[in-house]
Each structure stands twice: as structure tokens, then as C-alpha cells.
Amino acid sequence: MDKTARLGEIVAAHAGREGPLLPVLHDIQSEFGCIDEETKRFLASALNLSRAEVHGVVSFYHDFKSEPAKLPVLKLCRAEACQARGCDSLAAEISVVAKDRCEIETVYCLGLCSVGPNAMIGADVHARLDVGKLTQLIEAL
């Protein structure tokens, strides 16, 4: 199936919803890894929005990417509770190991604040990280 047809299906799947743009964008992001210019044009016409509106929404939210990630993504929490448990030095120490293996994204809070430092890969969460554990996770990617 070509991409346009698939995009059409995704839009149709959310047709009954009020204000469907975010759920539509989530589905596209998870299927194609990003929301590119072609997709924005398609959505503007399919949802009767201006291209500026669609671009404005896509660029506002941290979750939506304009290009697909080249490497697996590891989301490392850098918020205060994890800072209090040493995430900053962990982030610095791990950067060499991570270099060609994964992209380390910063998130602010995974809601596991009493067992930090924490990270998320896909939907899997990992707690009580130290350099050894985090290295293992990255090497397993």
C-alpha cells in the first residue's frame, strides 16, 4: 500500500472524534517514525486545516519528529528527582558508550521518582540505573 493510502486510512480511523489531530499524529509518528512535509500537506487537506496550523502543532510537541531517528532512542529522565539521585553525572559518563549505539533523549519525568535515575526504551521502563546497568541496556539495543 502506498503511503498516501495508509495516511488516508489513519485519518479515517479517527473520523468520529472531536479534534482528531493529535491522535492522528500519534499514529503516524509511531508507524512512520516522523511526520514529514508530504504528510503535513496531506493532513491539512484531509482535515480541512491550513498547512500552517498542522505545522504549528507538529512543531509544538516534543514527541513529533520531522525526521525518523537513525538509532534506537533511549529516553533518560533528567528532572529534579532524578537529579537528586545522580542522573547528571550518569548522563555525562554514558555519552561515550551511547555514541554510535543509540540516541539519548532527555525526558522530564517518567513518574518513577523514588527509584531514579530512570530511563525508557519504547514502552519499557528501567529504574535504579547506574553506569553498569545503563551500559548493559545500551549494549542490548
Binding site: 537529579q83 537528586a84 519525568c109 513518574g111 518513577l112 514502552a123
Partner: protein
């Protein structure tokens, strides 16, 4: 043998699945169930064998746990001081029930509140919630009953209940635990709110960082649809924007727009989602409602102090020995929470600062430990309780770095609509950077602009920079449209006020700012 292990995201992150698998292999006849979490985070994964707890368990501990010889034995979980000291109303089922089991939910008093609400009618429900003294648990503390009454008396054929589950504050996880551990409780609370104000549609706006909560909610909504009908609930997933926890940003986001705040008025209660009258309440606010309806307003209001009624699920996090969820009536002191219940720092170093109320909350020194945990006491001490998150820092914390982080966070997450927040946060970062590096660098000099005769030629002293940032914080506090820009001054100014030495302030300046 009944063996219970939590499937809460925090337990999973600590390895609960691996432990459960190992137990299933070692004891194939055991009845292994996956329950919600008790909230004793330092003991996760916590394995409960016929009521006796073992934690934190690893795969290697399984054999000893099964034959009862493990040194991880903490005795009967329900009698553990951390649990026994609590007053659990909202989290009464935590650790006990299986999150999606409808029979267990009913057997533990579930749907009783909704049934009583249906029998009593909308006006009586609003009266009960008002009398209970329940205030919004998301941070602002606005009385829930008054908000509901406003929506109920607003005109319009379509009204909405919006549950704010965009729990983005660092140090908070009670919403996540409730959505994962007791999703029917939230659904019941929303259905009661819908009945009270005349809304048949509800949205739960959950942040995308909580995939486990999203999955549990979707399953729970499907399983309980026949009970709450004609009320209908839909989960909407956020997209990584902190500011969408602000109620008007959240509404914009739900409508499929950029999450920019709206100026108030109009109040969301009158013109909310798609311009219709809308109740926007936090997860914990709505989840407190079933108890109130089932047991009466007085039963709830009897807990607490002053104008802070009922209980608050307090989240103990950061550098603490015993972090976790602790639900208790308002009025417990900050020092009791940090030292007695939290057990002090995990690192063993003295406590330097405690941030209460998330990234927009003030940092408190140990001299504030006498403060009772309630809305008014923290406001009077230039702080806030916010969503009930407590993050503890030990001696190694650098308060200048923390103040700078607060400004940086505000700059990164600002929606950009109002100038004090959008620009003030960036300027704040710059001022704090100058304080750190010892003043204006040569390249920053304005001497090349002689016509700007009022500009300081040699840069500013640290004291002048500090007074500049005080001015900036005043502007942000009073000029910002929402709490992000408006409350960022709390962590910044409290850090300067209580730890001036970390900023290199002079003795005169210390007198000035304290």
C-alpha cells in the same frame, strides 16, 4: 499459596516481571496474581506470600522467599509502619486488588458512590462534594464543589468532564499509580462528576510518558462502559509538552491545537473544551469523589486541618531512603515526612533542600521542617504544595545549578504565548550563568555602544545581578499568563534566599533578600 506481585510501572522498572517469571517457574502450583503497588518504592519489586512481604526481591532471592528463609522478610505488609501510619481513602485498594478485576472493585466498595449519586440526584451530589471541602488536588487548590456548580448552572446542551492526567511534575507519581492500580476509581469519579453537572462525555488527557497507565485505562474503560453508561470516556494522549498540564493549554491540546494557554476569563467552567462548559479536574480530585459519595461529606471533611480538608496522597521522592506514596490527612509536618517517614537521605548525607510541589515549587531548607503540610501554611512560607510531590536533595546539591535548571526548564517548556515566561526564562538563565562565571564577559560589553549611556559599562557585580534577577522574577510572577512562568520564580528565589552562599552574594545582599 497466594503470591502477589505488582504490575505497576515502577515495580516493572525495578524488575517485577522477571521476579514473577522466576516464581512461576519455581512454584508452578502457586496462585500468582498481579496487583497494584503498595507504594513502598524502596521495597519494589515487593513479593507478597500469603500476606508476608519480601522486598526488594531479585530473581536470585526467589528460592529463599518461597521456602520462607529470605532475609528480605518485612513481615505482614498491612502492618508495616509505612502503611499502618497512613490514612488511605483514595488509595485504599493500593497493593490489595488487581487493577482490572471488576469483581474485586465491587467487593471493595466500588460503584457504591456512583449508585448513591444516582439515587441522590445532581444537586445533592454537588452539595456533598462542596460540604466535603474537597479542593483541586492538581495544585491550584480550587474548591471542586464550586467549580462543579458553575458548570452545572451554565447553559448548553453539551458539557464535558476533562480529567487532567498530564502529571508532568518531577517528584509526582500518584496520578500514574492510581490510573494503573485503580482505574475504575477514576472512572467512577468522572461518572459522578458527569451526573452532577449534566455531562455525558469525559476525556482523560494522559501524558505519553505513561504508556502503562494508558493501556490500563483503555482496558478499564472498555470493561466498565456498561456500568457508567450513558457517560462515555475517551483517553487522549499528550505529546511531551509539560505546559499541557495547565488546564487551558490542555483544552487547546485536546482540541488538536498547539498547547498554548488561554487568557482567563472566560473560565473553562463556562467556555472550556470546544467552547462548552467543562469541568477540568486532576486525577486525584476525581478519584477522591467515590469515597466522598459512598461515605458522606463529613467522613471526608473530618480529616485535615483548616481549609485543607481530607487526605493528600503525598509522593516522597529524590534522595530518600524510603521513597514512595504516603496518603495522609493534611497537617503532617514536612520534617515528619522527610525524616520519620522518608527515613532521611539515601546517601546518608544531611538534607540540604527539599523541593515541594514539583519543578515550580519552592526549595525549603531544614529550618522549614516545622511547616504543616497544607495549602495555607506553604503559601505563607512562600511555597506551594502543588500536586503533593516532595523531592529531597542532600548536601551535594548546588542551588545555583538548581535555580538555573528551573529557568532552563521554563524556557524549554514555555508555550511562548506571553513575554514574561518566553523571554524572562531565557534572560534568567543568562543572568544565572553570569553569576556562575563571575560576571559579564568582555564580549558582552556594551562599551561599543556609547549612545546607550545608561548601560553599565563594566558589567554588574554579583549583587547587582541578584537584584536584577529578583526584578525579573517579580515580572514573571505577576505578568505571566499561567503557572509555568508565574511559579518558576518560586524555585529560583527560594534558592537565592535560603542558600545565598551558593550564589556568591555579599553579606549586605543576604540581609536584603532574606
Amino acid at each position: 499459596m497466594r503470591i502477589a506481585i505488582s504490575d505497576d510501572a515502577l515495580a516493572l522498572a525495578c524488575g517485577a516481571d522477571q521476579v514473577a517469571e522466576a516464581i512461576a517457574k519455581a512454584a508452578p502450583d502457586a496462585d500468582i496474581i498481579r496487583v497494584s503497588s503498595w507504594g513502598m518504592s524502596w521495597l519494589e519489586p515487593l513479593v507478597e506470600v500469603d500476606g508476608i512481604g519480601y522486598g526488594p526481591a531479585t530473581v536470585d532471592d526467589v528460592a529463599a522467599i518461597l521456602d520462607g528463609s529470605s532475609g528480605l522478610n518485612i513481615g505482614r505488609i498491612a502492618n508495616h509502619p509505612f502503611i499502618a501510619r497512613q490514612q488511605r481513602l483514595t488509595f485504599a485498594r493500593a497493593g490489595i486488588t488487581q487493577p482490572l478485576d471488576l469483581d474485586e472493585y465491587r467487593a471493595t466498595g466500588g460503584w457504591l458512590g456512583l449508585e448513591k449519586a444516582r439515587a441522590a440526584g445532581a444537586d445533592a451530589v454537588i452539595e456533598t462534594v462542596t460540604d466535603s471541602g474537597l479542593r483541586g488536588r492538581g495544585g491550584a487548590g480550587f474548591p471542586a464543589g464550586i467549580k462543579w456548580k458553575t458548570v452545572a448552572s451554565a447553559d448548553g446542551p453539551q458539557k464535558y468532564i476533562v480529567c487532567n492526567a498530564d502529571e508532568g511534575d518531577s517528584g509526582t507519581f500518584a496520578d500514574r499509580m492510581l490510573m494503573e492500580g485503580d482505574p475504575y476509581c477514576l472512572i467512577e469519579g468522572m461518572a459522578i462528576a458527569g451526573l452532577a453537572v449534566g455531562a455525558d462525555k469525559g476525556y482523560i488527557y494522559v501524558r505519553s510518558e505513561y504508556p502503562h497507565a494508558i493501556a490500563k485505562l483503555n482496558a478499564a474503560i472498555l470493561a466498565s462502559a456498561h456500568i457508567v453508561t450513558p457517560f462515555d470516556i475517551e483517553v487522549r494522549v499528550g505529546a511531551g509538552a509539560y505546559v499541557c498540564g495547565e488546564e487551558t493549554s490542555l483544552l487547546e491540546s485536546l482540541e488538536g491545537k498547539r498547547g498554548e494557554v488561554r487568557a482567563k476569563p472566560p473560565l473553562p467552567a463556562l467556555e472550556g473544551l470546544f467552547g462548552k462548559p467543562t469541568v477540568v479536574n486532576n486525577v486525584l480530585t476525581l478519584a477522591a469523589v467515590p469515597y466522598i459519595l459512598a461515605n458522606g461529606a463529613k467522613a471526608y471533611a473530618d480529616y485535615g486541618m483548616g481549609r485543607s480538608r481530607g487526605t493528600m496522597p503525598i509522593q516522597l521522592a529524590g534522595n530518600l531512603k524510603h521513597g514512595g506514596l504516603f496518603e495522609t490527612a493534611f497537617g503532617i509536618t514536612l520534617g515528619e515526612l522527610v525524616n520519620d517517614i522518608g527515613g532521611g537521605t539515601e546517601s546518608g548525607e544531611p538534607v540540604k533542600a527539599v523541593q515541594v510541589g514539583g519543578p515550580l515549587g519552592a526549595f525549603h531548607p531544614a529550618s522549614d521542617f516545622h511547616l504543616p503540610f497544607d495549602y495555607e501554611s506553604f503559601t505563607a512560607a512562600d511555597g506551594l504544595i502543588g500536586h503533593g510531590g516532595i523531592v529531597v536533595f542532600d548536601e551535594s546539591a548546588d542551588m545555583l545549578a538548581q535555580a538555573r535548571f528551573a529557568m532552563e526548564f521554563c524556557a524549554a517548556e514555555s508555550c511562548g504565548k506571553c513575554t514574561p515566561c518566553r523571554l524572562g526564562s531565557v534572560r534568567g538563565m543568562e543572568v544565572l550563568d553570569r553569576i556562575k562565571t563571575g560576571g559579564r564577559a568582555a564580549a558582552d560589553s556594551v562599551e561599543s555602544l556609547p549612545q546607550m549611556h545608561n548601560a553599565p559599562k563594566q558589567g554588574r557585580s554579583t549583587d547587582e545581578e541578584l537584584s536584577l534577577i529578583s526584578d525579573l522574577c517579580e515580572t514573571m510572577k505577576f505578568g505571566s499568563l499561567c503557572a509555568l512562568g508565574g511559579f518558576t520564580p518560586y524555585p529560583v528565589m527560594s534558592a537565592i534566599r535560603h542558600w545565598p552562599e551558593d550564589f556568591g552574594a555579599s553579606a549586605d545582599m543576604v540581609k536584603d533578600i532574606s
